[in-house]
Amino acid sequence: MLIALWPHRWSRQQRSNATLVSALVLTVFALALLGQVLSFLPEPIGPNAQAFSAGARTTLWLTLVSGSVGLALGTGAALARTARWAAVRWVASFYIWAIRGTPLLVQILFVYFALPVLVPGLNLPDFAAAVVALALNVGAYNAEAIRAGLLAVPRGQTEAARALGLGRTHVFFDVVFPQAFKISLPPLVSNFVALLKDSSLAYAIGVVELTNVGNRIQSATFQPIATLTTVAVTYLLLTTLVTQISNAIEYRFDVEGRNQ
C-alpha cells in the first residue's frame, strides 16, 4: 500500500527504504498519539484512553520481543531439522511436534504455573513467562517456514558456491540463507501477525495487554460494544502497520520484480 506512494523513477531499494522508514515512523506516531486520539472519544473510551494506549504498547512490545526470539529459535530449529546428526534432527522434530500439537493457552499457563514447580527458583514474572511461551510457540511455526525456504533453494546454488571454494559458513550466509529467507518471508510474516493477535492470550496469566485492558473496562462499564470495538480496531491498526513494514522488506528482496 505504502510502496505505491513513491515515484516510479526511484530504485527498488529507495522505495523499500522509504516505505520502511515511513512505516516505522507511522508506528511510533500511532503509539504515541493513540492515547490522545482516544481521549477525544466519549465514555467509556475517553476516560480510559491512557489504559488502552498502554495496553497497545504492551501488546506490541510483547510481540516484538517474542517475535525476535522466535525468529532466532525458528532459524535454529530449521537448521537443526536439516542437520547431519540424527540426534539434533530428532530434538528439533520433537520440539516442533510438541509445540504445534498443544494449545498456546496451555503453553502459556504451563510456563507461568508449572515451570516454577519443575525448576524451583525459576519464578518468571507474567510478562517474561508470556514472552517465553510465545517465543517457543512462534519459533516452532517459524522453523517449518524457514525449513521450507531452505529446501526450496536449488541444489545447484550450493554446488556452484562450493565449487568456487567457499567454506560452509559463506555458502550458507552468502548464498543459501538470503534466498531461503526471501522464500520464507511471506509465511514468517503470517506467523508474526498471528503472534500479534495470539499475544492476547497472555491475558490469562495477568499481563496487562490490549485485550486484558479492554476486558477490564468492558466489565467495569458494561459497555462491551464500544470497548471491544476499540480493542479490535487497535489490533487492526497494529497489524496493518506491521504488514507495511514486512511488505517493504519483501519488496527489497524482490530482485526479480515479481511484486509490482
Binding site: G156, G165, L166, H170, V175, V255
Partner: protein, 247 residues
C-alpha cells in the same frame, strides 16, 4: 609453450550410485595447458568424473590428485583446490539474488579477501572479456541463457583458476546461443587455459581439443587427438556415437 606436466591425475577411480557403477577404474591424467574434451552417451560417467575432480561427487575408491595433492574431504585443502579449479555448470547456477557483478566478486572477496572496489575492477575486466560489460548491474533473470553462461564463466575465472571444468556448458542453451558461449571457451583455450570439457559439440571438439576422451559405461573407451579420433574412431560404438552426433 610450457613443459607438459600432468596437473590432474586420476588413478583407478570408482564410483557407484547404489548398485549402478558409473566409474570403473578410471585412470587418466590432464596436462597443464591442454584442452581435453570428454564425450560419450549420457550416463556414461563423464560428468561424474568431472564432479569427482572437485569433489562435488566424492569417489568411492582410487585417487585423484590435483597438482600432486590428493582430493579428500579435508575442508581446508579442498577449498584451496576448489579455488584452483573453476567449474561451469550445465544449468549456469548463477546466484539469483546477486547482481552479475556481485556473482563474480563474491568468491574473491570472501576467499581472497579482495577489497570490493578492486574486486569490482577485476570483475569488469572479466566481463569485458566475455562481452557483457554493459550488463554488470543486471540480475541473472534479466539475461538470456547464453549471457548467463558467459557470466558463469567469468565468475569461475574470477578466482584465477589453473584449470576450468565445463560440464555440458551449452546443453541447456537455445541453438542460437551456443556459439557465443563456445566463442568464449575458444578464446580461453587460445589463451592457454587448461580445460576439461564435457560436451556434445563435436565441432568444438574437432577444432579446439588437444585430446578427446570417449566414455562408455564408466570406462575410457578411447583416448586420442581429435584428428585421429574422428577419422579413425577405433570401434563401432564410437563410430555410431559420432554418427548420431552428426559430426
Amino acid at each position: 609453450m610450457s613443459a607438459i606436466s600432468p596437473y590432474i591425475v586420476a588413478d583407478r577411480v570408482c564410483k557407484s550410485f547404489g548398485a549402478h557403477q558409473v566409474l570403473r577404474d578410471v585412470s587418466t591424467h590432464f596436462n597443464t595447458g591442454e584442452v581435453t574434451v570428454i564425450i560419450g552417451a549420457s550416463g556414461s560417467g563423464k560428468s561424474t568424473l568431472l564432479r569427482a575432480i572437485n569433489r562435488l561427487e566424492p569417489h568411492d575408491s582410487g585417487t585423484i590428485t590435483i597438482d600432486g595433492v590428493p582430493v579428500t574431504d579435508d575442508p581446508n585443502t579442498l577449498q584451496r583446490q576448489r579455488s584452483e579449479v573453476g567449474m561451469v555448470f550445465q544449468q549456469f547456477n548463477l546466484f539469483g539474488h546477486l547482481s552479475v557483478l556481485d556473482n563474480i566478486t563474491l568468491a574473491p572477496r570472501r576467499i581472497r579477501r579482495t577489497a570490493r572496489a578492486q574486486a569490482n575492477e577485476q570483475a569488469m575486466v572479466l566481463l569485458r572479456r566475455v562481452g557483457l560489460q554493459e550488463h554488470a548491474h543486471k540480475y541473472p533473470w534479466q539475461l538470456s541463457g547464453g549471457q548467463q553462461q558467459r557470466v558463469a564463466i567469468a565468475r569461475a575465472l574470477a578466482m584465477a583458476p589453473q584449470v576450468m571444468l565445463f560440464d555440458e556448458p551449452t546443453s541447456a542453451l537455445d541453438p542460437e546461443m551456443v556459439q557465443e558461449v563456445l566463442d568464449v571457451m575458444r578464446e580461453l583455450a587460445r589463451g592457454g587455459m587448461t580445460m576439461i570439457v564435457v560436451t556434445h559439440e563435436m565441432g568444438f571438439a574437432r577444432e579446439v581439443a588437444d585430446r578427446v576422451l570417449f566414455f562408455d559405461q564408466g570406462c575410457i573407451a578411447h583416448d586420442a587427438p581429435p584428428a585421429d579420433f574422428f577419422n579413425d574412431p577405433g570401434n563401432d560404438r564410437i563410430r555410431a556415437f559420432i554418427g548420431r552426433m552428426g559430426a
